[in-house]
Symmetry: C2
Subunit: 347 residues, 2 copies
Amino acid sequence: MRYCLAGVLAAALAAAVSPASADDLMKAAKEIFQPIPSLVPAVKDNAVTHEKVELGKLLFFDPRMSASEIISCNTCHNLGTGGVDAGPTSVGHGWQKGPRRAPTVYNAVFNVAQFWDGRAADLKAQAKGPVQATVEMNATPEHVVKTLTSMPDYVALFRKAFPGENEPVSFDNFAKAVEAFEATLITPASPFDQYLEGDANALSAEQKDGLKLFIDKGCSNCHSGVNVGGGGYFPFGVVEKPGADILPAGDKGRFNVSKTASDEYVFRAAPLRNVALRAPYFHSGQVWSLKQAVGVMGEAQLGARLTDKEEDAIVAFLGSLTGQLPQIDYPILPVRTDATPLPTLAK
Amino acid sequence: MRYCLAGVLAAALAAAVSPASADDLMKAAKEIFQPIPSLVPAVKDNAVTHEKVELGKLLFFDPRMSASEIISCNTCHNLGTGGVDAGPTSVGHGWQKGPRRAPTVYNAVFNVAQFWDGRAADLKAQAKGPVQATVEMNATPEHVVKTLTSMPDYVALFRKAFPGENEPVSFDNFAKAVEAFEATLITPASPFDQYLEGDANALSAEQKDGLKLFIDKGCSNCHSGVNVGGGGYFPFGVVEKPGADILPAGDKGRFNVSKTASDEYVFRAAPLRNVALRAPYFHSGQVWSLKQAVGVMGEAQLGARLTDKEEDAIVAFLGSLTGQLPQIDYPILPVRTDATPLPTLAK
């Protein structure tokens, strides 16, 4: 188990680590959070080479990886809108609604695991999911490999990205290339990062008030680390279960992965980097206002009814988590050939 | 009427302008075609300013212009795949299938009018269509204006792009900005352009054979000018109607616009720039092989059964029409606010 309920509650009730002065606040923040590095991080079992990143970018934007050939990774993880789609949950093959809000791909490499329930250990495991999910891209590994193999430009790029391999074009390597590209989707240099690096003026007075509240009230007990969240699993509704619109009874979260009773309604703490770009909120995507989401969290997780001013301050702090998004050239994709599988729209 | 059936047939049957020597071929080509200019062309009643182009790029990629907020202009006119989608026809709101193949936005500014039936005089008129079409983006001008007005970054960009106007954020100005961006989507410097500019070595021997056939057989009677097509309206099936799969009886083309009997099954000649990037072909999108499409055209329009070698040569020539696609930074879009209309998935 990666969470400690008693700890969460203790922090919420006792506000044990209340930073008193401005220096103390920065010191406390540095103990709880880490800045986003300015360099692309290493990824387990998958060297992030330039060739893989370039290939992965094409794959990420290529709708022909889906059965309909009109849905790409970027459709639901739109890099122009914070790495997510419009919500509340995603729309996939056949206009089917997915069960949960699309998580952002930005900084996802820093999460402990992928998906709201952490069912994928890393991004290469994650990348294989939506491609095959019938309510998302509804494709098969065979469709993906056949499509890629049909285009000589893709074959050449896989050879370059996976040199010396006998079968460079494979579903595994598709996922590795996507992971390598996604590892580059990091957003450093937010005001909060600058603050963590020692610039006391990088945050406004209100943002500092918000940061202090975020620590004092106990938010940072779950939302900590590089991604201000994304590091562990916690029950949604520690103190008070939110309404069924926000926490639908049918989605038991991590329980579906672990089959452990104590994991019912447990989710990975949402990573809060760039959260201001990514309404609507929660796995159900039912709350469109960040301020309202802060209020819900206060009541559900901390048993605290935040004042209007407190909510505003926390929202201001969360705004300081918006970093510099990488500039991405929209890729010109390899050209289909007569051997490329045709799109299938049937559900 | 912009077409002359007698002329088409005469050219097909008599091959009157057969260029004999290599010099003659280039001279003949220069009389029939013009190169894509390397500079963005002027647009009627809409100065193409840097501010409009930048704004138009955001709008073109912004899915929130649709009712579902997941379909953008780029969904069906994907700049990564030749300015079109996977086909055969587009999939829009509610997974509905559109009636015709998406035309490319690349070089569309050089067409005589927009849509397969020319029902929009220019790109600013065209841009208003798909946004409102219930089978495409299913939005309203009110949705678009309310969405744009809800985001301060958009309001500022409209003010800059339309200085001095009382109501810079309007559906008309949305369309003008999109048109300005689309005017930049030109693809100069193809091998054929280099040939037209005097470089005899820019085309291979087979491509020159194809060009000669393209002129001799009469293809260039309809497919001429800057866009090697897109300049006038012609009946599909001049000599022999293609099968109902390729030319569905229910779609009478320009007749629906003009209500003139002679316009039945008349369409704007397809512009052939970058045609090799844009399978499937025809307004019905039912032919996936360019070689097969050339064969269909020979029989339907010219009454000519082309040999395998002739088809290959013409396909090789058409390959020389692939130009240099502009490099486009994928835009980071303005952030939605609590005032932004919510997505609607209902049909």
